[in-house]
């Protein structure tokens, strides 16, 4: 009987479909809500949000035509799946900084998220940390929060960062450091990125390898944490917005891309959400150091995309060896 009622009222739902957009995203909830709210208010399009880790989000968008947009995930992680995306060049691209504008049409850069170290000032004591090298100190054994790079894209960014930074630009030379770091992790490898920043914020770990936005959010929330930009160099990779090529709501998806890369949205993100804008005309939050003050480290994007699986396998192999010892 109730089934009857339920179906009799489903007409309204169909009508609403045309003003709908299904978005899957690995972004933190607190990050997404104000942006989605504003997008809905401005366009009248109702957004259905799905929150999941980067690799699950990628699977979702390439396997389910009902999901219109993948919002987030670094271009290094998502790059290999380019074929599944719809080509769209947002009019906002002309305002992008040069390094974010030269991507293919299937990828629209959204923000720049540098990898950082985050320390808990309350529990770090007098251990000094300025970069990757300092993580190998014996006092930190088992006190370092790091997620499995095969499960967390921000951890993969860190792996890339340390391979290039510790290998002096040649990733193959960086594995000695990775091995040493794995030993100092003492078998602790977390399942997702939120365990890293939350673990450091609540004092479970002294230091964590995370991304700037997460650290910024913790800082804004009043946690006694500090952001450390690695002295060996910081690789900053943009994350992107990707439209499902099988989407049935391409027009809504385009509006979403336009909105998220608009000056207002980027300005809001940069000032309130701790991310660095991809636009030239937006300056960052006062709580963060300007981009030119950090020592940047270049990673060859193509090389990273090509070697992603190989590096992950190597990492898994190394971590297996370490835990076997």
């Amino acid at each position: 009987m109730f089934v009857m009622f339920i179906y009799s009222s489903s007409d309204g739902k169909k009508e609403a479909l045309s003003k709908k957009l299904v978005v899957v995203s690995p972004h933190p909830t607190e990050f997404m809500i104000p942006l989605i709210q504003e997008f809905e208010n401005e366009t009248g399009i109702a957004v259905e949000l799905k929150n999941s880790g980067t690799s699950d989000a990628i699977n979702e968008i390439i396997s389910d035509s009902g999901t219109d947009i993948l919002w987030g995930g670094s271009v290094l992680s998502v790059g290999p799946y380019e074929d599944y995306f719809y080509s769209y060049e947002t009019p906002n691209r002309v305002d992008f900084m040069e390094e974010y504008a030269d991507f293919s049409d299937k990828i629209t850069c959204f923000t720049n998220v540098p990898s950082v170290l985050m320390i808990n000032e309350d529990v770090i004591g007098d251990i000094e940390i300025n970069g990757y090298e300092d993580l190998l100190q014996d006092e930190l054994k088992g006190q370092i929060a790091f997620a499995d790079p095969s499960k967390s894209s921000s951890s993969f960014e860190h792996l890339v960062n340390m391979l290039y930074a510790m290998g002096d630009g040649n990733p193959d030379k960086g594995w000695d450091y990775v091995d040493a770091l794995l030993k100092n992790l003492d078998g602790v490898l977390l399942d997702n990125s939120s365990e890293v920043y939350k673990g450091v914020a609540n004092g479970k770990f002294k230091v964590g390898l995370t991304f700037e936005e997460a650290a910024f959010t913790m800082l804004k929330a009043g946690s006694h944490v500090k952001i450390i930009y690695m002295s060996e160099g910081v690789v900053s990779t943009p994350d992107g917005i990707y439209i499902n090529k099988n989407s049935s709501r391409i027009e809504n998806a385009k509006k979403f891309v336009d909105f998220m890369t608009s000056k207002d949205a980027q300005r809001y993100i940069a000032n309130n959400l701790g991310r660095r804008s991809v636009r030239e005309d937006v300056i960052g939050a006062s709580m963060l150091i300007p981009i030119y003050e950090m020592l940047s480290c270049d990673a060859d994007r193509q090389e990273v995309i090509e070697n992603k699986q190989k590096w992950l396998d190597t990492f898994t192999g190394l971590s297996g060896e370490v835990s076997d010892e």
Binding site: F2, S9, E40, Y268, N271
Partner: protein, 552 residues
């Protein structure tokens, strides 16, 4: 007939179930259906009534605030500047009934504060970063119109005062949450006040929110019954037209479980009732139809030949009458049958007697004529013939027994043969071969003699000599006598006539001995017994008799 005829007891039982259990079950099911429908109707109805109450109250509040913003705009336009006491005057008079003035803010286009009733303004109204974001975005998007915006959990009623395309001043009123919450607290159901996109401003529960603080689409997109997860809900949504929606939701899960349990209990009770009724109807129908069964059994017994059954019924008057009448009828019937049997026996007996006594007058005449002749030429032979004839006559009139032993009947045959022997002398020969083990068996009186009579009658026609063989023996439970002669035989037509007469069991008026024998055997013994005859012209005749073997 393909359908099996049911017993009276089964019919009684079915009738009982059909007219008692089924109607009650139907009524209960109907009652349950009506109950569920009525219940769901009232759930929906009261939900909607409550929803409209909340919606009207909120609409009224919002109208006041809209009106206030418009009034403030007019006050501003009177002087094209912010006059504090004028604006406070509007604010106090409009919010009088709420006891809470809220935060009325007037901002310049470059986000400078011109007026605030609370002394503080959220930074996202004043910082340039937000000049196109949130409330400001709403003001600029809807020039000259009042818009309702939910931002950072606060509800704003905002309007830009425009001079052509140029923004002169922005009026922003921060609606005190308490005013809206007051109208929904205390409701017996879940009430959500959301903006048009389903973001929750106020609610008296958080159970239906998704992880982002937005009400789940299931409730906000449509009204009606729905199942979300393991819960059942009735949701109803109204739009105030002032940028707010009112969604009222009933969690029906418990009620539905209660109804399911209730229905379950009723079903179990009914199953029990039906089970009990079925069993008891089976028992009671057996009890009530016991008399019918008795009558049925009695009739069956009578059919199988038992006339001594009695019907003893005293459970109900009707059946008692039937029983008594049956008993009376049966005893009458029994008497009648006995009388009939006696009568039939009498008839058969007298018939047999009559048949026995048919002593052939030709034979008597011939014999006497022979005796007269013999008396002249051979007095010894004449004497022997007289003795034999007198033996024959005595035998035929002696005692009234129907059956005699084979031995007795054979001795009578011997008398007969003596006479024939003298009469035909060398022209006649015979052989008697009767097995010793049947000598004491009983056979109808005068069984064999007519066979000889018959042989002589047909055998001598046109021929000089005749030989007769008589054989007697037993086969299984029967005794067989065969009388075979080498005489002239019987004409084909005549034989057929004889056979026909034999088979028709007719009481032939012709006084042939073999008819007599056959007729008597048929009357005396039940079964395939009797006489058969076969004959070939000029070769001889064979007569065969079969009777049941039995002793005295």
């Amino acid at each position: 007939m393909s359908k099996e005829v049911r017993s009276f007891q089964e019919n009684i039982r079915r009738t009982f179930i059909r007219y008692s259990v089924v109607p009650v079950a139907v009524i209960v099911v109907l009652a349950m259906v009506i109950f569920v429908f009525a219940w769901s109707y009232f759930v929906a109805h009261f939900n909607e009534v409550d929803n409209h109450e909340v919606e009207q109250e909120i609409s009224r509040d919002m109208n006041i605030y809209y009106d206030m913003v418009d009034t403030v705009e007019r006050r501003y336009l009177e002087t094209d500047s912010v006059v504090m006491d004028k604006i406070f005057d509007v604010l106090y008079s409009k919010t009088d009934e709420f006891g809470e003035i809220g935060n009325l803010i007037l901002l310049s286009p470059d986000q400078k504060i011109l007026f605030t009733s609370k002394g503080s303004v959220p930074k996202y109204l004043t910082q340039t970063v937000y000049s196109n974001w949130g409330v400001w975005n709403a003001i600029r998007r809807n020039p000259g119109e009042i818009s309702t915006t939910l931002y950072e959990s606060n509800l704003y009623v905002a309007k830009g005062i425009y001079d052509g395309d140029t923004l002169k001043c922005a009026i922003v009123y921060m609606v005190p949450e308490k005013i809206i919450t007051d109208s929904i607290i205390g409701s017996s159901r879940y009430v959500y006040i959301t903006d048009v996109n389903g973001w929750v401003f106020a609610s008296n529960t958080w159970v239906l929110n998704d992880e982002y603080g937005q009400i789940q689409d299931d409730y906000s997109l449509r009204s009606g019954y729905m199942k979300v997860g393991n819960h059942f809900y009735y949701s109803y949504k109204t739009e105030t037209g002032k940028g707010l929606n009112v969604i009222t939701v009933n969690d029906l899960t418990r009620s539905i479980w209660l109804i399911i349990v209730l229905i379950g209990i009723i079903v179990v009770i009914f199953a029990a009732i039906i089970f009990i009724a079925y069993r008891s109807s089976s028992n009671s129908s057996v009890r009530y139809t016991r008399d019918i069964k008795k009558i049925e059994d009695a009739f069956e017994a009578v059919q199988n030949g038992d006339f001594d059954v009695k019907l003893n019924i005293n459970s109900s008057r009707e059946f008692m009458t039937i029983g008594n009448d049956f008993n009376e009828m049966l005893s009458g019937l029994k008497e009648q049958i006995n009388q009939n049997r006696e009568l039939a026996e009498n008839v058969a007996f007298s018939q047999v007697k009559q048949l026995e006594s048919q002593f052939n007058p030709h034979f008597l005449f011939n014999t006497l004529d022979n005796i007269r002749f013999m008396a002249k030429i051979d007095s010894g032979a004449a004497d022997k013939m007289i003795v034999s004839l007198s033996g024959l006559l005595r035998y035929s009139i002696r005692d009234s027994r129907e059956e005699v032993t084979v031995r007795e009947d054979l001795s009578n045959v011997q008398d007969y043969l003596n006479i024939l022997q003298i009469r035909f002398n060398k022209r006649f020969a015979y052989n008697i071969d009767v097995a010793e083990d049947i000598m004491d068996c009983l056979i109808p009186k005068l069984l064999i003699q007519p066979l000889l009579e018959n042989a002589v009658k047909y055998g001598f026609a046109g021929q000089e000599k005749l030989t007769v063989d008589i054989k007697g023996y037993q086969i299984k439970e029967d005794i067989v006598f065969i009388c075979k002669d080498d005489g002239a035989g019987i004409e084909k037509d005549r034989l057929e006539e004889i056979l026909h007469n034999l088979r028709s069991d007719a009481d032939s008026s012709q006084h042939f001995g073999i008819y007599n024998i056959h007729r008597r055997i048929r009357l005396m013994y039940k079964g395939e017994y009797g006489l058969d005859i076969s004959s070939v012209k000029d070769e001889g005749t064979t007569v065969r008799i079969v009777i049941p073997r039995h002793y005295a």
